[in-house]
Amino acid sequence: MMSTLGVDLILFGFLNVFSDYLLRVHRLPAKYFIFETRDIAVSLGPTSIRLVGLVAPLVLVLVVVLLHLFLTKTKLGISMRAAIENPELASLSGINPELTYAIAWLIGGALAGLSGGLLTLVVTGYTAAGMTMVVSFFAGSIVGGLYSIYGALLGGFLVGVGEYLGVSAIATLVGGWIYAYRPAIPLLVMAITLLVQPRGLAILWGGRR
């Protein structure tokens, strides 16, 4: 976990260096990006929503289906699961665990980048955006359990719904002051879930222990 953080800090530093460079040398406004207003509105019957509202769920479905196919049908995906389950046994049957780990990192990074691309259409893009939001992403992945795609899907859904819809629901009960604590909601969801189900929700349908 710490080496991930080290890489993260280096990338964060260079990202900021780059944006400083663009700002000071080329006088480009490279600190804040607002793409929300550039998004295309799509009319859906009586209402209209922004295109990202359609694209993001589609991408989600596509990613989950592809990941499922990848991990259950392809040789590489199966060997990846084997390498995580039991590295020694996997390497006996000719799998290179190091290579599979590297590929897993590649896929993880690619998916995180994809989500970042969609995210800039929803929130203001700035260099520390990831740093501030990463805690609720952690919460989502942990709630579902670390070894299951569907766990992650459910966890992300729970945390996201809790953070936005849940807060509005609570606000109608207790008043608007609760909105200030919005970032705390996913963490609370996570803490409660883990105290009930220490290995994440994926255990419920037979995920890995």
Partner: protein, 354 residues
């Protein structure tokens, strides 16, 4: 009284605070291998205690508003200024308040550590690490938004128990030296802890949990005690920092500064080894101060904010340590149960018998 130049003060201060936090982290991570990614929680607790409690007590004593009004930013400045004027006249009271607050912070930090033991006994590795991290963020969100506690987004001023020695440089010198003293005490305590039977039990549990429990060691109790000790030391660091800076704003306490940097200090120096931690904190403090000091000349050469160099440096060090020297600069050595001289004497005696 002597006045030290600001750069030296900066180094002493950062070194001392860093040492206290990292030592507390090392007791939990190095000795017991708990994934403590929530160091921020205890540090912030200490800072909140220092910001909220002594000021209120003194305000109530002086007949000033001490309830929710105390933390309201329009009144707070005036109230704290009056209290500080009073504290200037009363060195004894100042020191009393200082010691009392540090003890209270340690107590509350220990209580927070005890509360953390509940998840810490149930969750494993990454789950626990992220839960603790989330607890820290949770407390930060609450302190940031709940105004009556420590002023919310406006922050509060913290009463200044160091002011009685004089204003300006003298005050900062005294405060920094006091914090340095506390850091030395904490370091010596951690070193004694590492050499004590309790420290050896911690390392035994870390290296072979099943074996330790077979020998009758109560793992639950040991983990709880370790979390309490670590939490109280970290809370003292938070309280000292709040006193030194003289103001408290929850959002300035980030997980980067109070959790990940101590982790980096610890990894560089050597996990599980107090001397290594001392060296790690010292090296980081020197290089960070150098970056801050030469900020102007760096940004004159390359068109960036040197702050980012700090991030890159710390990230590079973490990655380099993980890749090339996972045991740190000074690797952990097994601690001796008896002084070296006596062990040698015993060995010689055994040799004679043979």
């Amino acid at each position: 009284m002597i006045e030290l130049p600001p750069t030296v003060l900066q180094i002493i201060l950062n070194f001392s605070i860093g040492l206290i936090v990292t030592v507390s982290l090392n007791i939990e991570v190095g000795f017991l291998n708990l994934p403590q990614f929530g160091r921020l929680l205890a540090v912030l607790t200490g800072a909140i205690v220092a910001a909220a409690v002594p000021g209120r007590i003194l305000a109530a004593y002086m007949g000033l508003p001490w309830g929710a009004d105390y933390a309201y930013h329009l009144y707070n400045f005036g109230i704290v200024a009056q209290i500080n004027n009073m504290l200037c006249e009363n060195p004894g009271l100042s020191l009393g308040i200082l010691v009392f607050t540090l003890m209270l912070a340690a107590l509350v930090g220990g209580a927070v550590g005890y509360l953390c033991a509940y998840p810490a006994l149930r969750l494993k590795e990454a789950y626990l690490g992220i839960t603790l991290l989330a607890f820290g963020e949770l407390l930060m969100t609450i302190a940031w938004n709940y105004d009556p506690l420590v002023g919310g987004t406006m922050g509060v001023w913290v009463v200044d128990p160091f002011r009685f020695v004089g204003a300006g440089g003298t005050r900062f010198t005294f405060a920094a030296l006091f914090i340095f003293m506390v850091a030395i005490v904490v370091y010596v305590y951690a070193e004694l802890l590492a050499r004590s039977p309790f420290g050896r039990v911690l390392k035994a549990v870390r290296d072979a949990e099943v074996a330790a429990s077979v020998y009758g060691k109560d793992i639950v109790k040991i983990r709880t005690q370790t979390l309490i000790i670590g939490g109280s030391i970290a809370a003292v660091a938070g309280a000292l920092w709040a006193f030194f800076t003289g103001s408290m704003k929850a959002a300035t306490y980030t997980r980067l500064t109070w959790t990940f940097w101590p982790w980096a200090f610890m990894m560089l120096g050597g996990i599980g080894n107090n001397l290594g931690i001392l060296v790690g904190v010292f090296l980081y403090t020197i290089s960070r101060t150098a970056i801050i000091l030469y900020k102007g000349s760096i940004s004159a050469i390359i068109p960036i904010d040197p702050e980012w160099l700090e991030y890159i440096m710390i990230g590079l060090v973490i990655v380099a340590v993980v890749l090339f020297r996972p045991q740190g600069i000074i690797p952990e050595k097994p601690t001796l149960a008896l002084p070296k001289q006596r062990l040698k004497a015993v060995l010689e005696e055994l040799g004679k018998e043979k």
